[in-house]
Amino acid sequence: MRVLGIYNIKGGVGKTAAAVNIGHLAAADGLRTLIWDLDPQGAATFYLRVKPKVRGSKRMLLGKRDLSDVLKGTDYPHLDLLPADFSYRNMDLLFGGTKKPTTRLRRLLRPLAAQYDLVVLDCPPSISLVSENIFRAVDALLLPTIPTPLSLRTLEQLLDFMAGHDLGSPVLTFYSMVDRRKQLHQDVVASPVDARCGVLSTTIPYASEVERMGLERRPVTAFAACSMAGRSYQALWTELKSQVAGLQPGAVFDSPY
């Protein structure tokens, strides 16, 4: 099982859009995939048409309730969701009161290893105890970045933070919501990035199809696979597979008998 965290300190950069589309593509490749919507606002949960409610979520987060009991199948074979719950907004406090508070998430995920090939964490924007838990739980951190100079500075801050906390997982970034008409975007995309961070060559364009996910309540890769945005997510997933070990197409074989 690989754990992929989709993260940024900043909000509204396309984390959730990436999490849902990548999760969908991975499942279509036959990887048994779980998306955990860690954001109490529940955007990913909404896109996948699941109710943003986890019964006994507090006990679940404290490891007193089996994660398997709260998982939901989605419209897509091999793609499951651990839904958001409003109580996640207190996750910091909850984790803070436990022993070894920074590895809670990692330990919660461990029992799922036999059931899933890939877990995608859709992370809330912030830098907090929960983020540190995420850094310690993932095999790779994927950062959507809007190509502006300010975003690049935020990225450096994050890398400093991670270095300071001795967090070894590889960090990959890709440019998100890229507007080809903006010279500034083009310049930033062309400029060098902090060497501690890998940069994927795929960029996700600014596209109305992605916004339409809120209406369709489906991944772009499901309702507009051949659109520019759909193909970009497909290219992103393909590149990700080549960069992160263990994401090769699964051995899952669906047959009635």
């Binding site: 048409r49 998982l71 939901k72 199948g73 419209d75 074989f253 669906d254 047959s255 009635p256 008998y257």
Partner: protein, 523 residues
């Protein structure tokens, strides 16, 4: 109320298609059509159903160019990890290294996997939706077409399979209850195995190398003997095609055992069948037995070779390669000869004539003097007589008795064993099993004593044919010599074990059983 479970499958009435299903589940807002897919599924087992006897099913499922092998329990549960494998399975040892191979090969031993039945499956996906138009239950509408290597295709009834979506079990349960109780559609088992076999006219366990004859104690000896011979003739007929095709070595083995049993049933059940019939077929089956001998000897050697190799010093084991090549060549040529002989019109006519004779309402010639005796009485008398003979001969064997005495004893032990097995049905099962155990162990010991000697002799003869002009040939000659020594040592061990094995056969408590079961009933 019928109890239904959220992952049941239901048999569909003929007039129910996708449109009708959507309508039944509340229309397009509640149920929508999804992906379609085609699958092909094939079940495998050995000719004698070894997997089935262990409660297992082996199936290969193919779709879109990829394939998996699955090993399942009788209720469709996965037993080991499925195995990606496109090639049609045959020899368990040739399967990719896996738990599945381990399980299958330990059960199959020397037997090959054969296709039993194939099912072509067309699947149409459907989804039940909730108020958010989200899938909460998956359905598969399945059309199935069944065939086998010797049966044309037959359609199995179309069915609807429920696949619960994680976290929405209540919805699947509701759908299952609806189908079971309101539509009242019958449930079908989660595993197709029995259905598919029935469709191609097979039944699990429809062949066994064990002789099973249904007898009634009051039956006349003549009827019983015919029953036994008929069962054996069936076994003979069923093993001929596989022997000719050399599918695996057990066809020939079972064929030979059935021939030996037939000869034994002809001669050891005395004074029942008309004398001329006994004489004629005794000779014919003796000849058929001889025809099958040489190939079997080579088969046995090849089957035992890995074990024999392991008994030699590792440096020497590889030197047996030349010998193995030689034996394999010999086996192939003997097998070809056997194939011809078994396929000849003469053999075919003789097997058929024998079957017809056994099926005929009246036998030619005058039945033997004991033909109308109740079978229980006749069987008991003859088993008791043979038992006494074995006991006497065995007790007479001393450490310095000639090998010939042990060989003779082996023959008598076999006759005793066959007699008991022929008439198994008319005796209580438990004591019979208790008596057979020491007899079988004794036979194993005597068998090892004789077979090892014959193999050693045969190998010595063979080494004369090995090329000794080059170093390689000389090395394999040495290895063969070492093998002969090993075989003779083995034979010696068997001889040492004999006294103890015979003593167990001849134990007082066992004797009491023989007396009660056979002497008293024979009176």
């Amino acid at each position: 109320m019928n109890s239904a479970s959220p992952s049941d499958s239901f048999l569909l009435p003929d007039d129910v298609d996708v449109e009708r299903l959507i309508e039944l589940f509340g229309g397009p807002g509640c149920c929508c059509q999804g992906h379609s897919a085609d699958f092909s599924l094939c079940y495998f087992d050995s000719f004698d159903w070894r997997l089935n006897s262990a409660g297992l099913r082996l199936l290969q499922v193919t779709s879109d160019g990829s394939a998996v092998l699955r090993l399942q329990s009788a209720d469709g549960e996965q037993v080991v990890e499925p195995l990606q494998s496109v090639a049609e399975p045959a020899w368990p040892a040739d399967l990719p290294d896996s738990d599945l191979r381990l399980r299958v090969s330990s059960l199959l031993e020397m037997r090959v996997l054969l296709p039993l039945a194939r099912v072509q499956i067309e699947s149409i996906g459907l989804a039940l939706l909730n108020e958010d138009a989200k899938t909460v239950v998956r359905l598969q509408l399945l059309s199935l077409l069944c065939d086998s290597p010797d049966r044309e295709s037959i359609a199995l009834g179309p069915r609807l399979r429920l696949i619960p979506v994680r976290g929405y079990t209540a919805e699947s349960q509701r759908a299952a209850d609806f189908l079971a109780n309101e539509m009242v559609w019958p449930k079908v088992p989660p595993c197709l195995f029995e259905e598919a076999l029935t469709a191609v006219d097979r039944a699990p366990g429809d062949y066994s190398s064990k002789l099973k004859v249904a007898l009634r104690p009051k039956q006349t000896a003549l009827e019983a003997q015919r029953e036994i011979l008929r069962a054996l003739s069936l076994t003979i007929e069923r093993n001929i095609p596989g022997t000719r095709a050399d599918l695996d070595s057990e066809f020939l083995h079972d064929l030979r055992v059935a021939i030996r049993r037939t000869r034994s049933a002809l001669t050891q059940i005395k004074l029942v069948l008309p004398e001329p019939v006994v004489k004629e077929y005794q000779q014919r089956f003796a000849r058929l037995g001889q025809v099958t001998g040489p190939t079997r000897d080579l088969d046995v050697f090849l089957l035992e070779l890995p074990g024999l190799r392991a008994a030699l010093p590792p440096a020497m084991a590889a030197d047996l390669d030349a010998l193995e090549v030689h034996v394999r060549k010999a086996q192939r040529s003997e097998q070809r000869r056997l194939k011809r002989r078994l396929g000849s019109p003469a053999t075919g006519a003789m097997v058929q004539a024998w079957r017809e004779l056994l099926d005929a309402p009246r036998l030619p010639g005058e039945p033997g003097a004991l033909s109308s005796l109740p079978v229980a009485q006749l069987a008991s008398q003859q088993i008791w007589r043979m038992y006494k003979r074995v006991r006497k001969a065995g007790r007479a064997i001393q450490p310095d008795s000639p090998a010939e005495a042990l060989h003779q004893l082996r023959k008598d032990c076999k006759k005793l064993r066959y007699l008991i097995e022929f008439f198994r049905d008319i005796y209580p099962a438990k004591p019979l099993k208790r008596m057979l155990r020491p007899l079988k162990d004794l036979l194993d010991c005597l068998g090892q004593f004789q077979d090892r000697e014959l193999q050693a002799e045969w190998l010595e003869g063979l080494s004369a044919e090995l090329d000794r002009s080059d170093p390689q040939g000389r090395r394999s000659l040495m290895a063969t010599g070492a093998l002969v020594a090993h075989l003779l040592r083995d034979q010696h061990l068997a001889r040492e074990r004999f006294a103890e094995r015979f003593a167990r056969f001849d134990a007082a408590d066992s004797h009491v059983l023989y007396r009660r079961l056979f002497r008293d009933r024979g009176a």
